[in-house]
Protein backbone atom coordinates (compact mmCIF):
# COMPACT_ATOMS: atom_id res chain seq x y z
CA UNK A 1 0.00 0.00 0.00
CA UNK A 2 1.33 3.39 -0.86
CA UNK A 3 1.94 5.88 1.89
CA UNK A 4 -0.43 8.52 0.68
CA UNK A 5 -2.47 9.62 -2.23
CA UNK A 6 -1.55 13.23 -1.96
CA UNK A 7 1.65 14.78 -0.79
CA UNK A 8 -0.37 16.63 1.81
CA UNK A 9 -1.78 13.39 3.19
CA UNK A 10 1.51 11.56 3.32
CA UNK A 11 3.25 14.43 5.08
CA UNK A 12 0.55 14.53 7.73
CA UNK A 13 0.71 10.77 8.13
CA UNK A 14 4.48 10.55 8.42
CA UNK A 15 4.77 13.52 10.76
CA UNK A 16 2.03 12.29 13.00
CA UNK A 17 3.41 8.75 13.19
CA UNK A 18 6.88 10.03 14.01
CA UNK A 19 5.43 12.18 16.78
CA UNK A 20 3.47 9.27 18.15
CA UNK A 21 6.55 7.10 18.03
CA UNK A 22 8.51 9.67 19.99
CA UNK A 23 5.70 10.11 22.52
CA UNK A 24 5.27 6.43 23.16
CA UNK A 25 9.03 5.91 23.41
CA UNK A 26 9.56 8.74 25.88
CA UNK A 27 6.24 8.65 27.66
CA UNK A 28 4.71 5.21 27.48
CA UNK A 29 1.56 4.78 29.57
CA UNK A 30 1.68 2.29 32.42
CA UNK A 31 1.67 -1.28 31.10
CA UNK A 32 2.68 -0.28 27.58
CA UNK A 33 6.11 -1.27 26.31
CA UNK A 34 7.31 -0.04 22.97
CA UNK A 35 10.68 -1.01 21.67
CA UNK A 36 11.29 0.39 18.28
CA UNK A 37 12.61 -2.80 16.75
CA UNK A 38 11.21 -2.48 13.26
CA UNK A 39 12.18 0.33 11.00
CA UNK A 40 8.76 0.52 9.41
CA UNK A 41 6.72 3.57 10.14
CA UNK A 42 3.54 1.90 8.92
CA UNK A 43 3.66 -1.19 11.09
CA UNK A 44 4.51 -1.28 14.77
CA UNK A 45 4.56 -3.90 17.45
CA UNK A 46 3.67 -2.73 20.94
CA UNK A 47 3.66 -4.92 24.03
CA UNK A 48 1.12 -4.57 26.80
CA UNK A 49 1.41 -6.02 30.28
CA UNK A 50 -1.71 -6.88 32.25
CA UNK A 51 -2.27 -4.64 35.26
CA UNK A 52 -1.71 -6.01 38.73
CA UNK A 53 -4.82 -7.05 40.56
CA UNK A 54 -6.50 -8.17 37.33
CA UNK A 55 -6.95 -11.57 35.71
CA UNK A 56 -4.14 -10.74 33.30
CA UNK A 57 -1.63 -9.59 35.90
CA UNK A 58 1.89 -9.61 34.48
CA UNK A 59 0.81 -11.39 31.31
CA UNK A 60 2.58 -9.87 28.35
CA UNK A 61 1.06 -9.73 24.88
CA UNK A 62 2.05 -8.13 21.62
CA UNK A 63 -0.22 -5.89 19.57
CA UNK A 64 0.54 -5.21 15.94
CA UNK A 65 -0.54 -1.83 14.60
CA UNK A 66 -0.85 -1.34 10.87
CA UNK A 67 -1.58 2.11 9.56
CA UNK A 68 -3.30 2.80 6.28
CA UNK A 69 -2.60 5.79 4.12
CA UNK A 70 -5.74 7.33 5.58
CA UNK A 71 -4.45 7.32 9.18
CA UNK A 72 -5.33 9.17 11.42
CA UNK A 73 -8.67 9.59 9.70
CA UNK A 74 -9.12 5.86 9.62
CA UNK A 75 -8.51 3.55 12.57
CA UNK A 76 -5.31 1.52 12.51
CA UNK A 77 -5.61 -2.22 12.16
CA UNK A 78 -4.80 -3.61 15.60
CA UNK A 79 -4.46 -7.32 16.31
CA UNK A 80 -2.80 -9.47 18.90
CA UNK A 81 0.13 -11.37 17.40
CA UNK A 82 2.62 -13.87 18.72
CA UNK A 83 2.44 -17.26 20.36
CA UNK A 84 -0.41 -16.42 22.66
CA UNK A 85 -3.30 -14.05 22.60
CA UNK A 86 -5.25 -13.22 25.75
CA UNK A 87 -8.27 -15.35 26.48
CA UNK A 88 -10.96 -12.70 26.58
CA UNK A 89 -14.58 -12.49 25.40
CA UNK A 90 -13.64 -9.80 22.86
CA UNK A 91 -10.43 -11.35 21.56
CA UNK A 92 -10.68 -14.02 18.89
CA UNK A 93 -8.18 -16.85 18.62
CA UNK A 94 -6.62 -15.25 15.56
CA UNK A 95 -5.90 -12.08 17.53
CA UNK A 96 -8.74 -9.99 16.14
CA UNK A 97 -10.23 -7.63 18.71
CA UNK A 98 -13.83 -6.53 18.93
CA UNK A 99 -13.48 -2.97 20.18
CA UNK A 100 -15.64 -0.09 19.05
CA UNK A 101 -12.87 2.51 18.91
CA UNK A 102 -11.09 0.36 16.32
CA UNK A 103 -14.20 0.53 14.17
CA UNK A 104 -17.03 3.00 13.93
CA UNK A 105 -16.09 4.89 17.05
CA UNK A 106 -12.59 5.75 15.91
CA UNK A 107 -11.60 9.40 16.16
CA UNK A 108 -8.34 10.99 15.03
CA UNK A 109 -7.72 12.24 18.56
CA UNK A 110 -7.08 8.64 19.53
CA UNK A 111 -3.52 7.41 19.22
CA UNK A 112 -1.41 4.29 19.55
CA UNK A 113 -1.01 5.09 23.25
CA UNK A 114 -4.69 5.60 23.90
CA UNK A 115 -5.62 2.47 21.94
CA UNK A 116 -3.19 0.45 24.08
CA UNK A 117 -4.69 1.96 27.22
CA UNK A 118 -8.20 1.07 26.04
CA UNK A 119 -7.19 -2.50 25.31
CA UNK A 120 -5.52 -2.76 28.71
CA UNK A 121 -8.66 -1.49 30.40
CA UNK A 122 -10.71 -3.95 28.37
CA UNK A 123 -8.53 -6.70 29.84
CA UNK A 124 -8.64 -5.20 33.32
CA UNK A 125 -12.41 -5.09 33.45
CA UNK A 126 -12.75 -8.75 32.46
CA UNK A 127 -14.20 -10.94 35.19
CA UNK A 128 -13.87 -14.32 33.56
CA UNK A 129 -11.30 -15.50 31.05
CA UNK A 130 -13.20 -17.04 28.22
CA UNK A 131 -13.14 -16.90 24.48
CA UNK A 132 -15.85 -15.11 22.52
CA UNK A 133 -18.96 -17.29 22.26
CA UNK A 134 -18.69 -17.28 18.48
CA UNK A 135 -14.94 -17.81 18.32
CA UNK A 136 -15.04 -21.05 16.33
CA UNK A 137 -17.63 -19.68 13.92
CA UNK A 138 -15.59 -16.55 13.37
CA UNK A 139 -12.40 -18.51 12.83
CA UNK A 140 -14.03 -20.38 9.96
CA UNK A 141 -14.61 -17.34 7.84
CA UNK A 142 -12.57 -14.58 9.45
CA UNK A 143 -11.03 -12.22 6.92
CA UNK A 144 -7.30 -11.72 7.03
CA UNK A 145 -7.82 -8.31 8.53
CA UNK A 146 -10.37 -7.36 11.17
CA UNK A 147 -10.98 -4.22 9.18
CA UNK A 148 -13.08 -6.34 6.88
CA UNK A 149 -15.25 -7.53 9.73
CA UNK A 150 -18.29 -5.53 10.57
CA UNK A 151 -18.41 -5.78 14.31
CA UNK A 152 -21.39 -5.54 16.50
CA UNK A 153 -20.12 -3.66 19.51
CA UNK A 154 -21.99 -4.63 22.58
CA UNK A 155 -21.17 -3.17 25.93
CA UNK A 156 -17.67 -3.79 27.14
CA UNK A 157 -18.90 -4.63 30.58
CA UNK A 158 -17.54 -8.13 30.83
Amino acid sequence: MSIGRTSNGSVLLAKRLMREKRDITENAPEGVVFSDSSDSLMRWNVDIVGASGTLYENERYTLRFKFSAAYPFEAPEVVFVGEEVPVHPHVYSNGHICLSILGDQWSPVLSVSSVCVSILSMLSSCKEKKKPPDDSAYMRYAPSTPRNTTWHFHDDDV
Binding site: N8, K15, S118, P132, H152, D155
Partner: protein, 158 residues
Amino acid sequence: MGNCLKSQGSDDISLLQGGSDGNPAHQQSRSESYSSASPMNESQDHLPFYYPPPEGSHGNQVNEENQIRIAKRIGLIQNLPTGLYDGCKKNQESVSLDSICTCIICMVEFALEDPVRYLPCMHTYHKKCIDDWLMRRLACPSCLEPVDAALLSTFDTS
Protein backbone atom coordinates in the same frame (compact mmCIF):
# COMPACT_ATOMS: atom_id res chain seq x y z
CA MET B 1 -23.67 -12.40 26.41
CA GLY B 2 -23.49 -11.07 22.99
CA ASN B 3 -21.97 -11.89 19.81
CA CYS B 4 -19.30 -9.50 18.64
CA LEU B 5 -20.22 -9.90 15.02
CA LYS B 6 -22.70 -7.62 13.47
CA SER B 7 -25.63 -9.15 11.72
CA GLN B 8 -26.14 -8.03 8.18
CA GLY B 9 -28.24 -4.96 7.71
CA SER B 10 -27.94 -3.87 11.27
CA ASP B 11 -28.28 -0.27 12.16
CA ASP B 12 -27.17 2.53 14.37
CA ILE B 13 -29.44 1.47 17.19
CA SER B 14 -27.19 -1.43 18.02
CA LEU B 15 -24.27 0.94 18.22
CA LEU B 16 -26.13 3.32 20.45
CA GLN B 17 -26.86 0.54 22.86
CA GLY B 18 -23.21 -0.20 23.24
CA GLY B 19 -22.52 3.01 25.03
CA SER B 20 -22.28 2.21 28.70
CA ASP B 21 -18.62 1.58 29.26
CA GLY B 22 -17.47 5.05 30.07
CA ASN B 23 -15.62 5.36 26.81
CA PRO B 24 -16.19 8.89 25.57
CA ALA B 25 -16.32 7.60 22.05
CA HIS B 26 -19.53 5.85 22.96
CA GLN B 27 -21.36 8.78 24.34
CA GLN B 28 -22.01 10.28 21.03
CA SER B 29 -25.38 10.26 19.44
CA ARG B 30 -24.96 9.29 15.86
CA SER B 31 -26.42 11.90 13.67
CA GLU B 32 -26.15 9.86 10.54
CA SER B 33 -24.99 6.58 9.24
CA TYR B 34 -21.81 7.53 7.49
CA SER B 35 -20.05 4.31 8.25
CA SER B 36 -16.55 3.20 7.55
CA ALA B 37 -17.83 1.25 4.60
CA SER B 38 -18.92 4.43 2.91
CA PRO B 39 -16.84 6.19 0.33
CA MET B 40 -13.95 8.03 1.81
CA ASN B 41 -12.38 11.24 0.85
CA GLU B 42 -9.13 12.96 1.04
CA SER B 43 -8.31 16.52 0.39
CA GLN B 44 -6.29 17.74 -2.49
CA ASP B 45 -5.57 21.41 -2.45
CA HIS B 46 -8.49 22.60 -0.34
CA LEU B 47 -11.42 20.70 -1.67
CA PRO B 48 -12.05 17.16 -0.56
CA PHE B 49 -12.71 14.99 -3.55
CA TYR B 50 -14.25 11.63 -4.02
CA TYR B 51 -12.40 8.41 -4.50
CA PRO B 52 -13.63 4.84 -4.29
CA PRO B 53 -13.29 2.95 -1.03
CA PRO B 54 -10.03 1.04 -0.59
CA GLU B 55 -9.87 -2.52 -1.72
CA GLY B 56 -11.26 -4.91 0.78
CA SER B 57 -14.08 -2.77 2.02
CA HIS B 58 -17.49 -3.56 0.71
CA GLY B 59 -17.49 -0.93 -1.96
CA ASN B 60 -20.58 1.05 -2.65
CA GLN B 61 -21.19 1.84 -6.22
CA VAL B 62 -20.49 5.41 -7.08
CA ASN B 63 -23.92 6.66 -7.76
CA GLU B 64 -25.69 9.89 -8.12
CA GLU B 65 -27.06 9.79 -4.62
CA ASN B 66 -23.59 9.56 -3.19
CA GLN B 67 -22.34 12.38 -5.31
CA ILE B 68 -25.16 14.58 -4.14
CA ARG B 69 -24.48 13.64 -0.56
CA ILE B 70 -20.81 14.46 -0.99
CA ALA B 71 -21.59 17.77 -2.65
CA LYS B 72 -23.92 18.65 0.22
CA ARG B 73 -21.32 17.68 2.73
CA ILE B 74 -18.69 19.86 1.09
CA GLY B 75 -21.12 22.77 1.12
CA LEU B 76 -21.91 22.19 4.74
CA ILE B 77 -18.26 22.05 5.75
CA GLN B 78 -17.55 25.24 3.89
CA ASN B 79 -20.24 26.95 5.93
CA LEU B 80 -18.20 26.46 9.07
CA PRO B 81 -16.16 29.49 10.08
CA THR B 82 -12.48 29.62 9.27
CA GLY B 83 -9.72 32.00 10.15
CA LEU B 84 -6.02 32.40 10.55
CA TYR B 85 -4.56 31.22 13.80
CA ASP B 86 -3.83 34.25 15.93
CA GLY B 87 -1.98 32.82 18.88
CA CYS B 88 -2.48 30.52 21.79
CA LYS B 89 -5.21 31.87 24.04
CA LYS B 90 -3.88 30.64 27.31
CA ASN B 91 -6.58 32.29 29.35
CA GLN B 92 -9.28 29.90 28.25
CA GLU B 93 -9.41 27.76 31.33
CA SER B 94 -12.16 25.44 30.26
CA VAL B 95 -10.09 23.79 27.59
CA SER B 96 -6.76 22.23 28.36
CA LEU B 97 -3.78 24.16 27.17
CA ASP B 98 -2.65 21.41 24.93
CA SER B 99 -5.79 21.30 22.91
CA ILE B 100 -5.82 25.04 22.28
CA CYS B 101 -2.26 25.28 21.03
CA THR B 102 -2.02 22.01 19.16
CA CYS B 103 -4.01 20.59 16.31
CA ILE B 104 -4.84 17.24 17.81
CA ILE B 105 -5.30 15.61 14.41
CA CYS B 106 -1.77 16.12 13.14
CA MET B 107 -0.36 16.67 16.66
CA VAL B 108 1.51 19.75 15.50
CA GLU B 109 1.36 23.08 17.33
CA PHE B 110 -0.46 25.79 15.51
CA ALA B 111 1.73 28.41 13.95
CA LEU B 112 0.62 31.99 13.58
CA GLU B 113 -1.41 32.51 10.43
CA ASP B 114 -2.15 28.81 9.95
CA PRO B 115 -5.54 28.46 8.25
CA VAL B 116 -7.83 26.96 10.88
CA ARG B 117 -11.47 25.99 11.10
CA TYR B 118 -13.63 26.58 14.16
CA LEU B 119 -16.29 24.03 15.01
CA PRO B 120 -19.48 25.02 16.86
CA CYS B 121 -18.07 23.43 20.03
CA MET B 122 -15.16 25.91 19.79
CA HIS B 123 -12.58 23.24 19.11
CA THR B 124 -10.11 24.41 16.51
CA TYR B 125 -8.14 22.43 13.95
CA HIS B 126 -6.05 23.05 10.89
CA LYS B 127 -8.45 23.52 8.03
CA LYS B 128 -6.81 20.83 5.93
CA CYS B 129 -6.84 18.40 8.85
CA ILE B 130 -10.45 18.81 9.97
CA ASP B 131 -11.95 18.97 6.50
CA ASP B 132 -10.65 15.51 5.71
CA TRP B 133 -12.23 14.19 8.87
CA LEU B 134 -15.55 15.97 8.41
CA MET B 135 -15.95 14.31 5.03
CA ARG B 136 -15.92 11.03 6.90
CA ARG B 137 -17.92 12.00 9.91
CA LEU B 138 -19.66 15.21 10.90
CA ALA B 139 -18.58 15.29 14.50
CA CYS B 140 -15.82 17.03 16.39
CA PRO B 141 -12.98 14.53 16.87
CA SER B 142 -12.30 15.80 20.39
CA CYS B 143 -15.72 16.08 21.99
CA LEU B 144 -17.79 14.17 19.41
CA GLU B 145 -20.26 17.02 19.27
CA PRO B 146 -22.17 16.70 15.99
CA VAL B 147 -21.38 19.69 13.83
CA ASP B 148 -24.32 19.40 11.53
CA ALA B 149 -27.21 19.80 13.93
CA ALA B 150 -27.49 23.54 13.57
CA LEU B 151 -26.39 23.74 9.99
CA LEU B 152 -28.32 20.88 8.51
CA SER B 153 -31.69 22.43 9.18
CA THR B 154 -30.83 25.48 7.14
CA PHE B 155 -28.81 23.69 4.56
CA ASP B 156 -30.58 20.43 3.93
CA THR B 157 -34.16 21.50 3.50
CA SER B 158 -34.13 22.36 -0.17
